[in-house]
């Protein structure tokens, strides 16, 4: 047996692609965990079809999972994969265009039969016709080896074939020197009640690993050293989990039970699934009859003294807007999570976009201001959920929290925070009559927030509603001056939050950047990665990222005016840039991408380089 050489790599991007029935998400997820435990920095991006079960072998049914791991700090799931694992011709057809030139292509040779080739639109077999000459192609008969490896385990052929993803996982684990025990332990736990399936999965995984080690096909194995990181305990976390846990943390830190009411919608359903598992935190979850009921019940729960939260995506946000405006009038805490997806209408439910910013800010009738925050990375979803809760409770206001499909589904290592160090949230319920003439539900405190008096509190009985209220007393009022005063008070309360949020920070190493890239939301990784990279090649570029979209940090204008040029990349057609231009009469430039895919660091490289080449 020839000795295999070990080659050091700083960074690798691997993409697993196959039919949606091939278990690619699971394979990617397991590879991610082994990689995380090894201590590499990483970022992941799943990409799956909207159809639950598209016809097998078709282009529509292709599901992919990409992971970028490195011995350095990284911030994006990577652009062009170095390695593509294609489980069938359709996966090859849809993913090959992204593979880097001369990249590594590992195909499941068994799947390249006429029927599958035809379904994928291949006139001839790409493994035979020379069309893959620009890549390092490894043809591995994954299905047949898996079937052989699991012989005698009492499985049908179909069941045996289903383990081929574990074979692929074993092979790639070997290639990149991933620890096997993480995966083995997981398989043992997952299938401990199905011993046949457990044995088959382990056998397939080992077969894949051994295949790499023993065949002459692969001459190298690669090693990616652990990335330097701050000391601490880490875990890998997806954005949707982080967001749900952030809400749980808000409950723990405020003492307010979470009341999460939601109607199933891609990609926000993950929040409902995750939160419904945590009933032992007194989390109440309600799967409502529709989007409107979902927010209505959440608002009712807030009135009753819990922290009402509802989650949705674009189409649901449209339906909730009337109730959001009621919450603006009632001035009660409420969190509305919008996991944005490509629109308009049903759009592309599993594809990402960040085009609901204007809807969040201005999508309601009348003057209806509210705070808007946006998460920037998967782990940051945790912090942003806490921040949304802090603002909602302190200022008695609905808050819209913007996430998106990309953030919700992708994952990154997260240095776990110390629970006792998380911000405390004081619900500060009203317990006393606040005025000589009795309880005044709209008598405001120094933050312009009104008292939150919950049912059951003697002496503070009051009625509130969507009709315009008289300042202080909260009684119905149609009086002209009062309406104007209340309109301004509601706006002033939201604007004043700017005193209570961090100033906008700029990543400008040398302080002499000419171009400022201003981002918001999930573009953080692509912008940060590209800014650092282009800076190394001499570009004078800085990065600032907004978490608070309303109100903006106090110093935003000062920061923007510090730079000769401002570039605002967005996954919409220029919503933030329009706002910045309108507000500051400042010639901000817009870079936009609405392809249902995240903005890549490579996109940003080009945009930055183009603007700084003289």
């Amino acid at each position: 047996m020839p000795t295999k050489t070990v080659e050091q790599k700083e960074r690798v991007v691997v993409r697993f692609a196959g039919d949606s029935g091939d278990g690619m998400q699971l394979t990617g997820d397991r590879f991610t965990n082994a990689t995380a435990v090894l201590g590499n920095d990483l970022a992941t991006l799943p990409d799956f079809p909207a159809e639950i079960r598209a016809p097998a072998g078709t282009l529509a049914g292709v599901s992919a999972f990409q992971i970028h791991f490195a011995s350095q700090d990284i911030v994006t799931p990577g652009d062009a994969p170095n390695v593509l694992i294609a489980m069938n011709p359709a996966a090859l057809q849809t993913n090959l265009r992204d593979l880097e030139p001369n990249g590594t292509l590992i195909v499941n040779e068994d799947a390249f039969v006429d029927r599958n080739l035809e379904k994928a639109g291949y006139a001839s077999n790409p493994l035979e016709d020379g069309s893959l000459d620009g890549y390092r192609v490894y043809r591995v008969p994954m299905t047949s080896i898996t079937v052989r490896a699991t012989e005698g385990m009492g499985l049908t052929k179909k069941e045996a074939e289903r383990s081929k993803n574990m074979f692929a996982l074993g092979l790639v684990s070997w290639m990149y020197s991933r620890p096997t025990d993480v995966t083995t332990k997981w398989v043992e736990k997952k299938f401990n009640r199905k011993p046949d399936i457990l044995r088959a999965n382990l056998a397939a995984f080992r077969a894949g690993y051994n295949f790499g080690e023993t065949t002459e096909l692969f001459a190298h194995t690669y090693e990616v050293k652990p990335a330097p990181a701050l000391p601490g305990t880490y875990r890998n976390i997806a954005g949707s989990t982080a967001l749900a846990w952030g809400l749980v943390a808000a409950s723990v830190r405020s003492g307010l039970p979470i009341f999460y009411s939601s109607y199933p919608i891609t990609p926000a359903s993950e929040l409902l699934h995750e939160l419904s598992r945590h009933k032992n935190f007194a989390v109440r979850t309600l799967q409502a009859e529709d989007e409107i009921a979902a927010i209505g019940a959440a608002l009712g729960a807030s009135f009753a003294g819990q922290l009402g939260v509802t989650g949705t995506s674009g189409p649901g946000l449209d339906l909730k807007q009337e109730t959001i405006s009621l919450a603006v009038a009632l001035e009660l805490p409420l969190i509305v999570v919008d996991v944005q997806r490509a629109g308009p209408s049903t759009g592309m439910p599993t594809k990402t976009e960040a085009a609901d910013l204007l809807a969040a800010l201005y999508g309601r009738h009348g003057e209806s201001p509210l705070p808007v925050v946006a998460a920037s990375t998967p782990a940051n979803c945790f912090d942003t959920a806490l921040e949304a809760a802090r603002i909602a409770v302190k200022y008695r206001t609905p808050v819209i929290l913007l996430s998106d499909t990309f953030l919700g589904n992708s994952s990154e290592p997260w240095r776990l925070p110390d629970v006792d160090g998380l911000p405390e949230i004081d619900p500060h319920f009203a317990t006393q009559v606040n005025h000589d003439d009795g309880f005044m539900p709209y008598l405001r405190d120094e933050n312009l927030a009104r008292p939150w008096a919950v049912p059951g509190t003697p002496g503070l009985r009051h009625r509130i509603g969507g009709l315009e209220k008289e300042d202080v007393t909260g009684n119905i009022s149609y009086e002209a001056d009062n309406h104007e005063r209340m309109t301004k008070l509601r706006a002033a309360k939201v604007a004043k939050i700017a005193d209570d949020i961090p100033l906008l920070e700029v990543d400008d190493e040398t302080g002499d950047a000419e171009l400022l890239v201003l981002g918001w939301g999930s573009t953080f990784g692509a912008i940060r990665g590209s800014v650092r990279r282009t800076r190394r090649s001499g570009k004078k570029v800085a990065h600032a990222h907004l978490t608070h979209l309303n109100p903006w940090p106090r110093n935003i204008e000062e920061v923007l005016r510090r730079y000769r040029r401002v570039l605002i990349p967005e996954m919409n057609t220029g919503q933030l840039s329009m706002l910045i231009r309108a507000r500051f009469l400042l010639d901000a430039e817009s870079y936009t991408k609405v392809q249902g895919q995240p903005i890549l660091a490579a996109d940003m490289d080009e945009q930055i380089t183009r603007r700084l080449t003289r």
């Binding site: 700090d73 993480v182 000391p231 945590h278 409502a288 729960a301 009135f303 509603g465």
Partner: protein, 368 residues
């Protein structure tokens, strides 16, 4: 005046039931807010409000333990006239908002006041789902068979052919039968009464309040401006004796002067109105609101095609079913028992984690 128990545990963490504890004396004044009542003079809503205020002290629930939730329409103003906690919400959504209040706080007494347009048109979905879930809310639907607040368009309970501002040639819509709709939505309590019959209305309210879970009460309410006299057959001095079919549990259903008419059971199980003299006593329907099967109640709901004919009034159905908020509390208690009280630190550290040790490792992120 009634002497009753005070309170019960209250607070945002829920728990407890209203109406227990130290005695408390309540009168109708304790429930009347300082707001001037503003409906059109002669509106049936006045009668309902007055009856409700007179009735509510007997429940023994302190006013701060009560929450009223209303929607849009003339009925929506009800909330401002009760000195309790209250939310005047948006059109049709009161049952949804009340679902949140009642589920978060099973200790509260939660009432929804709504109308035929609010509950059956724009808010139809929320109504049926609140009933299906058996949320602990009492839903009073003032049915005047017209849109009053928007000045006279036909409603989902208006009769076919109704001439209104929006239907000058007559309405083409077939109306809902609200009692049948509630029964179809698996409601555990369904009743019908009329605005001007204080005694009957009080009796129905009493039964609704005593019911554990969702209660749906249709109250025929006269809109003297846009649909005057719609229920005259059931409220007129002369006509009411002829047309009110009173449902009393355990009693054979007879009505009219000297019980001359009755509700007879047909051989196919349906019900019809018959002359008592022509009906064998064993075929006269004996009312049982607790019947496990909703079919008799459904048949009673269909005795008339509208309130211009003999129409059943009273409690159609009153059965026990698990209450939504209590179920949720129980689930939380069970999960807590099984998993232990939630520990945030434990949650964050659950699953695969790894430790980066101090010393020798560069701190601060490196550029990639």
């Amino acid at each position: 005046m009634t002497t009753v128990g005070n309170g019960g545990r209250h607070g945002p963490d829920g728990g407890g039931k209203p109406g227990s504890g130290a005695p408390l004396t309540l009168t109708k004044k304790d429930f009347a807010s300082d707001q001037e009542v503003r409906w059109c003079p002669g509106c049936g809503d006045y009668a309902i409000l007055s009856t409700f205020r007179a009735f509510v002290p007997e429940l023994g629930i302190p006013p701060e333990q009560m929450v009223f939730v209303t929607g849009i329409g003339c009925s929506g103003r009800f909330v401002y006239y009760m000195d309790t906690y209250g939310v005047h919400g948006i059109h049709g959504r009161a049952p949804a908002i009340a679902t949140g209040v009642a589920t978060a706080r099973p200790d509260l007494s939660v009432w929804v006041v709504t109308g035929d347009g609010d509950a059956l048109s724009i808010g139809g979905n929320h109504l049926i789902h609140a009933l299906r879930r058996n949320v602990n809310v009492k839903i009073l639907m003032f049915n005047n068979q017209i849109y009053g607040l928007t000045k006279g368009q036909y409603s989902p309970t208006s009769e076919e052919g109704k001439v209104t501002k929006s239907t000058p040639f007559g309405s083409l819509d077939h109306p809902f039968n609200p009692v049948a709709l509630a029964l179809g939505a698996e409601a555990s309590f369904v009743a019908r009464t009329v605005d001007v019959d204080r005694q009957h209305l009080t009796g129905v309210l009493r039964r609704a309040a005593a019911h554990d879970g969702a209660a749906f009460v249709e109250i025929y309410q006269n809109c003297n401006v846009f649909n005057d006299g719609a229920f005259l057959a059931l409220t007129g001095k002369e006509s009411k004796g002829l047309n009110q079919i009173r449902l009393e549990d355990g009693e054979p259903v007879k009505f009219g002067p000297d019980g001359a008419r009755c509700v007879a059971v047909e051989f196919d199980g349906t019900l019809r109105i018959a002359d008592t003299a022509d009906t064998p006593e064993e075929l006269v329907y004996v009312h049982d609101s607790g019947h496990a099967n909703p079919a008799p109640a459904f048949a009673l709901a269909h005795l008339s095609s509208g309130p211009t004919e003999p129409t059943a009034l009273g409690v159609f159905r009153d059965v026990r079913r698990p209450v939504y908020g209590e179920l949720m509390d129980r689930q939380i208690a069970l999960a807590t028992e099984k998993l232990g009280r939630g520990d945030l630190g434990k949650l964050l550290h659950s699953g695969d984690t790894w430790v980066v040790e101090d010393g020798g490792v560069p701190t601060g992120p490196l550029p990639s």
